[in-house]
């Protein structure tokens, strides 16, 4: 009986592992097959054919798309953290009237359906002359990352012991100095976590990127992959799409595996403790 339970347990573990990994494994496999090979189902790699990886950079401005994604996600992370840490200090360490209400409003913004702001955001971006530009996307993506950045950083900020800033204030430091000299170093681990989450959100963002860009040269990776087309509308270049998918997923998987604990801490701080 005990052995049966153990076998059942391991079968379950294996099933979960297989189910999690198989789609990505299959994408990697497909990305190394081209021509007629691609259209024969295979479960094991037979040979490595890099032609899809060449094609994705030659036939598409995919290098530019990656660069765009890096610029947008990087800027979004930097802006979210700069705004988020200062705001989180105020929310987490200072008692003032209206604090709960404001925090609640910010949390509500993070639950906004993106589509609810779509036409207004379209008008805003156009009136700034930012349609089909990267700054337009950066502005739009901030709406997605800033609320939870503030929220998660506030949670972390609150957990630091009270005595930390008191000594500094007694010595006559201004709040700004306290944030910069005392809290910024202490918040580094939390900032890494939140920054990673913001990076992933921005890197994966699709609806804004699809709607606020027009030309392939301005697209970030997700719409570029979604709109990749072959010689005819009915023949999708599956090999190239899989190669592109693998290229953009690998760095994210690497980040997740390296920072696994930090990411989990950030996710749970945002949700469970919230």
């Amino acid at each position: 009986m005990k052995i049966l339970t153990r076998i059942g347990f391991w079968l379950l573990v294996a099933a979960i592992g297989l189910f999690s990994i198989f789609p990505f494994y299959y994408a990697v496999m497909s990305s190394f097959r081209s021509g007629a090979d691609l259209f024969k189902v295979a479960y094991w790699p037979e040979r490595l054919d890099f032609s899809n990886y060449v094609a994705v950079f030659e036939r598409q401005p995919f290098g530019t798309n990656i660069f765009n994604s890096v610029v947008v996600a990087g800027s979004v992370v930097a802006l979210s953290l700069a705004l988020g840490i200062t705001a989180a200090y105020a929310f987490g360490r200072i008692r003032f009237k209206g604090r709960s209400l404001l925090l609640m409003t910010i949390l509500a913004v993070s639950m906004f359906p993106q589509v609810a702001v779509l036409s207004g955001m379209f008008e805003l971006i156009r009136s700034f002359g930012l349609y089909n530009t990267l700054p337009g996307l950066i502005l739009a993506n901030l709406m997605l990352t800033l609320p939870f950045t503030v929220w998660v950083l506030t949670t972390f900020m609150r957990e630091l012991p009270k005595e930390i800033e008191e000594a500094a204030f007694v010595d006559g430091a201004t709040p700004w100095i306290v944030v910069r000299r005392v809290f910024l170093p202490l918040m580094m681990p939390a900032a890494v976590t939140t920054g990673l989450l913001a990076f992933i959100v921005s890197w994966n963002e699709f609806l804004f990127a699809l709607t606020f860009t027009l030309t392939n040269e301005q697209r970030t990776v997700p719409p570029a992959i979604a709109l990749m087309s072959g010689s005819t509308a009915y023949e999708l270049p599956w090999g190239t799409i899989m190669a592109a998918s693998v290229i953009v997923t690998l760095p994210i998987i690497a980040l997740v595996l390296i920072f696994q604990r930090k990411i989990v801490a950030g996710l749970t701080a945002g949700a469970v403790k919230g």
């Binding site: 379950l12 573990v13 979960i16 592992g17 999690s20 990994i21 789609p23 990505f24 299959y26 691609l38 259209f39 024969k40 705004l83 988020g84 200062t86 705001a87 105020a90 200072i94 003032f96 709960s100 925090l103 910010i106 639950m111 359906p113 993106q114 589509v115 609810a116 702001v117 779509l118 036409s119 207004g120 955001m121 379209f122 008008e123 805003l124 901030l142 800033l146 609320p147 949670t155 012991p161 005595e163 709040p175 944030v179 994966n204 699709f206 709607t211 990776v221 992959i225 979604a226 599956w238 799409i241 899989m242 998918s245 953009v248 997923t249 998987i253 997740v256 996710l267 949700a271 919230g274």
Partner: protein, 323 residues
């Protein structure tokens, strides 16, 4: 901790006492200075666009020219022209998308909760390779939604897809299935891919709750020889219920605004179109900013209503005061 620190702060107590109110006042001023940039940015990129979207829903604006429009009241929502009812609320496609979204949300969140709990219970047990396993289940969550939709699109390809191949080999189906094109299977396909992608998130939230449970209860149950299944339903489940509810609410609100997955998996097909897909189609593909904004506004109202209900129910601790 406070008792150890208290003596050290006593000498400083006296001089601070006099300046406390001015210190407090200057700190409150600083607080407003610190949150002002965030508030201004959020007002500009969230508040203002939302207000404009609601305003556009009462106009006949067109995407080609957003400056030239007229106020038409509720005509985007419902209007009567010569005895014929028109508008969003009379459009069967809109109601179809509402139904799709509700169905998608209910089924996928239910499955994800059950599977997430099972995965969390497994990861909470100690076994060799647990750390690796925890990393592995994060992979589906980390893959960009568009990419996972494309990967599944390829795996579910009606002629060359690996899923049909497997099922045929196992003898479970007699002929290949057109998963994403067939109205009977399309929505289920979307649900399955969502379950694949989001179960890790649920599992991690539930796991975090499981790890906060006190171990001695389980020791006691073990000593008394209570069956593990009974322990789960009598002890574990009630204890993790608050965290479970929060996780379900977060996931539910997220699922209600689903866009990427459905758009990439099945394009604008009305069999699977969610409310968000419908709204964007009106707005961008048909250039009907008025009608699209009306749909967006309704989505916002539905989700806002749900948030208000949850907040009122008091399940989520929002004031955020330290325990």
């Amino acid at each position: 901790m406070s008792s150890a620190v208290a003596p050290a702060t006593v000498p400083a107590q006296v001089p601070v006492q006099g300046g406390r109110s001015s210190l407090t006042r200057s700190r409150i001023r600083a607080a407003w200075v610190f949150i002002a940039p965030t508030l201004i940015v959020l007002a500009l990129i969230a508040g203002w666009p939302l207000a404009r979207t609601i305003w556009f829903s009462f106009t006949d604006a067109n995407l080609n020219n957003l400056t030239d429009y007229e106020f038409i009241g509720f005509e985007n929502y419902i209007a009567n022209y010569d005895g014929e009812w028109l508008g969003l609320l009379t459009d069967p496609d809109w109601w179809r998308s509402v139904w799709n979204t509700v169905w998608f949300t209910t089924i996928s969140v239910s499955i994800e909760t059950v599977l997430g709990t099972i995965v969390a219970l497994i990861l909470n047990a100690s076994f060799p390779g647990r750390g690796l396993m925890r990393a592995v289940i994060l992979i589906p969550w980390a893959i960009p939604t568009v990419v996972s939709a494309k990967m599944w699109n390829w795996m579910l390809h009606d002629q060359f897809g690996v899923i049909n191949d497997m099922l045929l080999r196992l003898g479970l189906i007699a002929a290949p299935i057109t998963w994403t094109a067939n109205p009977d299977t399309a929505l289920w396909t979307v649900i399955m891919v969502d379950v694949w992608k989001t179960t890790p998130f649920m599992a991690l939230l539930i796991l975090a709750a499981l790890q906060m449970l006190p171990g001695d209860i389980y020791e006691a149950a073990k000593v008394d020889g209570v069956h593990p299944v009974k322990v789960f339903f009598r002890v574990t489940l009630p204890l993790i219920k608050p965290a479970l509810i929060v996780a379900v609410i977060f996931r539910g609100l997220d699922a209600l605004r689903v866009f990427d997955l459905i758009y990439v998996l099945t394009a604008n097909s009305r069999d699977t179109a969610s409310m968000s897909v419908y709204a964007r189609q009106q707005l961008v593909d048909f250039q009907e900013v008025g009608l699209g904004s009306a749909a967006s506004t309704l989505i916002f109202l539905i989700i806002a209503l749900l948030i208000v209900i949850t907040m009122a129910a008091g399940r989520v601790r929002l004031s955020g005061d330290p325990r």
